[in-house]
Symmetry: C2
Subunit: 776 residues, 2 copies
């Protein structure tokens, strides 16, 4: 018996509610060990709009026929379109990233130039008002877009992509509106000087591009290109979205290998060697596009867009010298990074819960929250540099201009006299990318005072915690890098006399350690940092720092993405079963679910309509009962028929006057496999007359004859492994006994039934039977 209460219409506003109040944590009924006829299953009682994806190949007669008759040309078309899509995903992600980068650098640049001019003329209040006003308007713009057009565009989007690739679809997440809001909202929010990055949003934009291309355009204006119809299934969409996510990471960090690994390590649930290769192709295209535009911008035709190369934060000019004795500071960085990272996760979790309550109060509250954060940010960024004292330029060390009055460079003049620079202004009154570049800058010991770095660190800790949850597109990478780099550089200064490693490299290591402490990635972060900084010799130390930080962080709490997934209530299937799952069988789960609804191979129309109206299940077992003379009653599992296909039959009115098996050609005449791949609305849209109710439908040709199965004695732990590894939406439970009175199927398992939280709410004693093992 299957419980996919995905589509309950009354729940359409669920998504905007506070995730903490969602029904996942409140089972609708108490545990009840008898078979219940209620339509509300106990296990899997969560009611959400999220739909499960179906990666299984639905082997019914139509599919098999189509498969058999598919020509070599069609197979080649399919392969060609697959690669074409991977190419287009890379190309468009590259182009859109370039547009975003150009817009942000120009808007921020001109804004800051104006502010600098006011300061030079000592019109400090005017500068403050100008900057605050511009930031205010930009934030308002981003928030309005998010609040009114695409609430899903708020936040980074990475947790939702992770859930999608695990098999949970969030509606309206990958549409054209969401994408455009994400693009323009991101430009607005980052230009407004808020403490958030464009990295997360870029990953989401990549996924949107992929999704739109894969389905042939926005929902209402789909291209009806024949070739694209091969992609009308969840498996191929999953692959394309993986390409999109990798391209997004690649575009954000200009890191093609890191992008692939990020998708592999953090985002994707299933992975194949072929996909590795295709993803790699997409990211290669992204890099080529980005590089071509940078080449073009070198000629000065991109306004204030900098002359940056492919490497964002190059620190390769410093020779890396380290010895065994340097293992100590490296360990210290790692441990502190892990502690700080998990502390950040903890506090951010609390803040997000608070913000959810505020945001749930309505659109006005959301807008107000964003604007408050914007005002606070502007005030701090503008006001704090006045606290820092001016430092005289050190002519010998700096071969760059000092003080700089233009937009780039390490030594901002701000309010200082000639020949001096304000180190805090250098870090605060600039784009985030430049701030990172400045704080990573090597061979510049003594450039920043401890005081300025402490202020910077504390400020970004506060901003990082309070900016993330507001209703604008926001990434987590950059805020964490900013915090981490400040902390690293401070630590480097503290260790000054005892180490041979440059302070700029300490900043890099600090950023890496905080990332690992919060996001808990290793290999992909390592490669991303390598590609960001172009210093291969730093690799062994970076690896150690990442490993230590991740280990320390894992002792305290889960990664930030898992925390957000949990907050959003997305039914994410973990790869590793909980230990107590060995102690319960799928039969026990089936027992507390409502009885299984089975259909006969040749079923009355009336019963089908009845079943569809009265249940919300997404698939039904099809069972044939025959009386074999001299043997007795035989029953046979024919397979699993999907709700969508039953709706298809009803809509196309493929009814039979008498109870009979149809011939193969009959079904093929009526349905194409394109019909079969479509989703067919709801039962309410179907009109069936009274006479038709008495007619019959032959379900055999539409039934998936090869559903995956488990026996009722199977432990939930092993069933979960099968469910996840094979990528299922439904799994039949078969009885262990064979005999005259035993039904051939006793239940259907779905994703919701296997979520640890749902099982525990029905069987609370299980958790106590084993101490949950420590995380580290």
């Amino acid at each position: 018996m299957e419980k996919d209460s995905d589509k309950l219409a009354e729940q359409t506003n669920q998504h905007e509610k506070d995730p903490e109040t969602n029904t996942l944590h409140q089972p609708l009924l108490k545990k009840n060990h008898t078979l219940s006829s209620s339509q509300l299953a106990l296990v899997g009682a969560k009611v959400s709009r999220n739909e499960s994806l179906d990666y299984e190949i639905n082997e019914n007669d139509l599919f098999k026929h189509d498969w058999r008759t598919r020509s070599q040309t069609q197979v080649l078309q399919y392969v060609f379109v697959k690669w074409l899509l991977a190419f287009l995903v890379g190309l468009l992600t590259g182009l859109i990233t370039t547009v975003i980068n150009l817009a942000i650098e120009n808007i921020t640049g001109y804004k800051l130039l104006a502010v600098v001019k006011y300061i030079e003329n000592q019109r400090y209040m005017m500068g403050f008002f100008y900057m605050t006003a511009v930031n205010f308007v930009l934030t308002l713009f981003a928030t309005l877009l998010c609040v009114f057009f695409a609430p899903n565009a708020a936040g980074p989007g990475i947790p939702e992509i992770k859930a999608y690739l695990n098999g949970v679809d969030t509606p309206d997440m990958y549409g054209a509106t969401t994408m455009f809001v994400k693009i323009f909202g991101s430009i607005g929010a980052v230009s407004a000087g808020l403490d958030l990055g464009k990295e997360g949003p870029l990953v989401h934009i990549g996924a949107c591009i992929a999704s739109l291309l894969g389905q042939g355009g926005p929902d209402n204006y789909k291209i009806k290109w024949r070739w694209i119809r091969y992609f009308n299934n969840d498996r191929d969409r999953r692959d394309i979205i993986t390409c999109g996510a990798s391209s997004g990471v690649c575009a954000a960090f200009r890191s093609p290998v890191g992008g692939v690994l990020f998708a592999l390590e953090e985002v994707a649930t299933w992975w194949r060697s072929a996909l590795l290769w295709r993803t790699f192709f997409s990211t290669a295209v992204v890099v080529v596009v980005l590089r071509a535009f940078m080449e073009y911008c070198k000629s000065g035709q991109c306004g204030l867009f900098g002359e940056g190369g492919l490497i964002m934060f190059d620190v390769s000019d410093v020779p890396v010298q380290y010895h065994i004795v340097d293992l100590l500071p490296v360990t210290v960085i790692g441990i502190i990074g892990g502690v700080l990272g998990s502390l950040y996760n903890y506090v951010l979790h609390k803040v997000l819960r608070l913000y959810n309550i505020i945001n749930a109060k309505g659109k006005f509250a959301k807008i107000l929250l964003s604007l408050t954060v914007s005002l606070f940010t502007s005030a701090c960024l503008y006001g704090l540099p006045f606290l820092a004292s001016c430092t005289p330029c050190n002519r010998s060390a700096a071969d760059s201009e000092c003080p700089t009055t233009g937009r780039m460079g390490n030594f901002k003049k701000f309010n200082c006299p000639k020949g001096h620079y304000n180190d805090l202004a250098t870090l605060l009154l600039t784009t985030s990318d430049d701030a990172v570049r400045n704080i990573f800058s090597t061979n510049t010991p003594g450039e920043y005072s401890v005081f300025s770095l402490v202020i910077f660190f504390v400020l970004y800790c506060i901003l990082g915690l309070f900016t993330f949850g507001i209703a604008v597109p926001s990434g987590l990478f950059l805020p964490i890098i900013l915090m981490g780099s400040a902390y690293g550089r401070l630590l480097g200064m503290a260790m000054g006399p005892y180490t041979t490693i440059d302070q700029g490299l300490y900043a890099v290591l600090g950023a890496a350690s905080l990332m690992a402490g919060s996001m808990r990635m290793t290999v992909s972060l390592c490669v991303i940092f390598l590609e960001l900084t172009n210093n291969l010799l730093l690799l062994p130390i970076t690896m150690l720092v990442l490993l230590i930080s991740k280990t320390v962080g894992d002792c305290f709490n889960p990664s930030i993405y898992e925390i957000i997934l949990d907050l959003k209530g997305l039914p994410f299937l973990e790869g590793r079963p909980e230990p107590w799952m060995r102690n319960i069988t799928v039969g026990e789960l089936a027992d507390i679910k409502p009885p299984l609804v089975t259909l006969s191979g040749i079923e009355k129309v009336g019963r089908i309509v009845d079943v569809l109206r009265n249940t919300t299940h997404n698939a039904f077992a099809v069972v044939d009962n025959t009386l074999v003379p001299s043997v007795g009653q035989m029953s046979e599992v024919h397979g699993l028929v999907l709700r969508a296909h039953l709706l298809l039959v009803l809509k196309k009115k493929w009814f039979l006057k008498e109870r009979r098996r149809t011939d193969e050609w009959e079904v093929r005449e009526k349905f194409t496999w394109v019909d079969v791949a479509e989703r067919w609305g709801t039962i309410e849209e179907v009109a069936v007359t009274k006479e038709e109710m008495e007619m019959y439908v032959d379900l055999h040709p539409l039934t998936n004859t090869t559903p995956y199965t488990v026996v009722e004695t199977m432990s939930v732990a092993k069933a979960l492994v099968q469910f996840r590894e094979v990528g299922l939406r439904h799994m039949l439970i078969l009885p262990k006994c064979h005999g005259p009175t035993v039904p051939p199927v006793i239940g259907i398992l779905t994703r919701q039934d296997l979520i640890a939280h749902n099982i525990l709410s029905a069987f609370p004693h299980l958790e106590k039977s084993y101490g949950t093992p420590k995380r580290c």
Copy 2:
């Protein structure tokens, strides 16, 4: 009915036979659609010594009890040992690699110094004899070790590791003897100047270290440390061996991230995020060890061991400048690399088949073959440089010494007058590593003449093809890099006027293209090349070259590792089912297998002995039949019992006088879970008296109650996906019908049943039903 004909004693010499004549390709019986009682199953008729591994968790009563009672401390012990082993694997791999490197560099170095001295004194014949004799002795040493002590140590070992991680164990592959032969054989073979690398052997050595550590020492001297016993299962061994393989690659190329990715992309079949992290830890340890030794060797205490840093072939000193127009030469390199790579695979396949025939003729033939190759190699390496003309040193370009007479440097004097160098001797009379370094050298246009490079390329094509199959440890990486770099540099010279890319970089790209064309990896090769050459700006071009080469190569034939796997007849389960597998059900496979052997839950000792003697199956279905009053005969699948556990019962004589169910404590008193994890020899070693034969055994507590199952209507394609993704050794086939006469289980599927080749030999019409899709 299960067919694991792994252990047939008469087949012990199978492994050394020509793989082409092995029984995989000659089904023992013709197809027969009736149920057969022969013990030789038709599907899976291959008889080999390779044993399948069992990654499934055997959930019997003993396991469950142990699991339940396992304390928090024991869980922590387990986690600690897991990380300790990963650390030790990295440490030992690093140390052994250092020893191998030191030995090879010193032996080769002193050998070449002596040869150079003879040439300086114009004693050319004496030089030739000296070099040939030393190479001869070294080759003989390596060959004798391989032939007499560990035949499995010949070759790279990577295909066998790949098969192991797919679930196929090759006996004597990871023992102490094999490891030592591999270490010393590799030193001998590489020092002998043969055209083979130490990279493949290092991967195998890493895997051996991991395997030995995981099982607590060599087979005869295992440490009985209590903590190590947690690792007495195939799952944990698989994880450790993955760490070992990654460490090996890392040690070979000093490429920690590349090592992890190589294991992920090429070697491993299953992969989890947690494993990624542990593997990464191992490779980090390897790098730290290697780096520490290099630091130590800088002080000159390692003999002739060079002053190399962590980056083997550094080309970072050349600025990478390329424009859109450079895409053309890059495409050309990729296409030619792909064609050459697949051509290499094709010819190598033929050569290996020829060599297999020669090697099958006995130990003497093997030795003779090795020595012939050694003599030929020596003659070419020494003789060919005399053909090259001397080039005058270009004082302005070269800031290094010219000509060099010592061991390092780009300009070997050889037979040339003062102020001149012999470019071919520079490439041939040196270690392979130095040859690659020389040919990759940047900013040296015109250093090598076309003539010399052509000779070098042709020579290494011939040597690369004829050296690989001889009975010494040999890696494929270096020969392919040597060939590829020569081809790339030649191409670079040909394109000279039309390109802005340095010739050294062309050599790098050529090597990458040939690797991708032959081995068909992308991401891991890309990272390995990045870590080898330390030129991040080259990354986008490298990616394109790799993608193009792989695509082109895939159009012609499978990767070199797949070819070798096929030659060795290892039953490797591909991840992707063949298209025709949708057209056959597992029920049809079960039909042509001999009838299923089932045991009762409480079985007579006599019948167990009988079944064990007369079948070779590795697991048996346990079925309980009970007559329920007023309902009728009920039968119940209890699960699957392993041959090893039946042997355990017989050996420990856990017999019952009467037919009864035992209590939980009875079995626990007799067996510990350590017993259950052991392998218990053969049935021939068991002595059972006549009275005992009449007694009973309660199989329930030893039966795995949660085997994975499929219904007989399941298509083989989907069954294969489940089998591979979940990592199974046995899968029960259940009937689709339920009724009075239907048995509860109708068959057991094993790995051999799902191998495409085996199915096709029983159902030859299947392949024709679908055109096999093109590879590209």
